[in-house]
Symmetry: C2
């Protein structure tokens, strides 16, 4: 039976995970991730990976669940940002007079 | 004396916190946060606030430290994003022929 403290932690984890869904939707809709820092996404993804390993080592299911999902979302955002940046460079190569 | 597991958790917390520094620097340099999702920043900040309360309730110093700093960085990013968005709207109001 989870305690009220556990429930607060689970709610916190759910929020910091689902927060990346609107970012993913926005990135997909606008096809632009120029203002999103590449450094942030790389450092953040590495940090989430370490949180996941930590969760696995101490056997914490909330930490494991939250960080598996956050890592997946963060990596998709990172890949889309890079893909849209490459597309932008290709478009910029077309030198119109 | 912190265990190797503690050190891993502290490293993870340090990374997911300092990740927001390059985003803050980029936002300050470009004065543009258009591609950053407002929904993400609002939900993420609320989640970090709950992690902070959870850390205070269970008396976890790493959770408290990481989330105080992350909350401060996330709120500054949120405020700058909104400020630069308002400035953009004002500039758009100037209808050039």
């Amino acid at each position: 039976m989870p305690t009220p403290f556990d429930l607060l932690g689970l709610t916190a984890g759910a929020l910091t995970t689902i927060a990346f869904v609107p970012q993913l939707l926005k990135l997909h809709a606008t096809k632009s991730g120029r203002d999103i820092s590449l450094g942030m996404m790389l450092i953040f993804s590495l940090g989430v990976l370490l949180w996941l390993v930590y969760g696995l080592l101490i056997g914490s299911l909330p930490l494991i669940l939250a960080n598996v999902v956050t890592l997946a979302l963060a990596l998709i955002i990172l890949i889309l940002k890079l893909r849209y940046a490459r597309r932008r460079i290709r478009l910029d190569d077309i030198n119109l007079p």
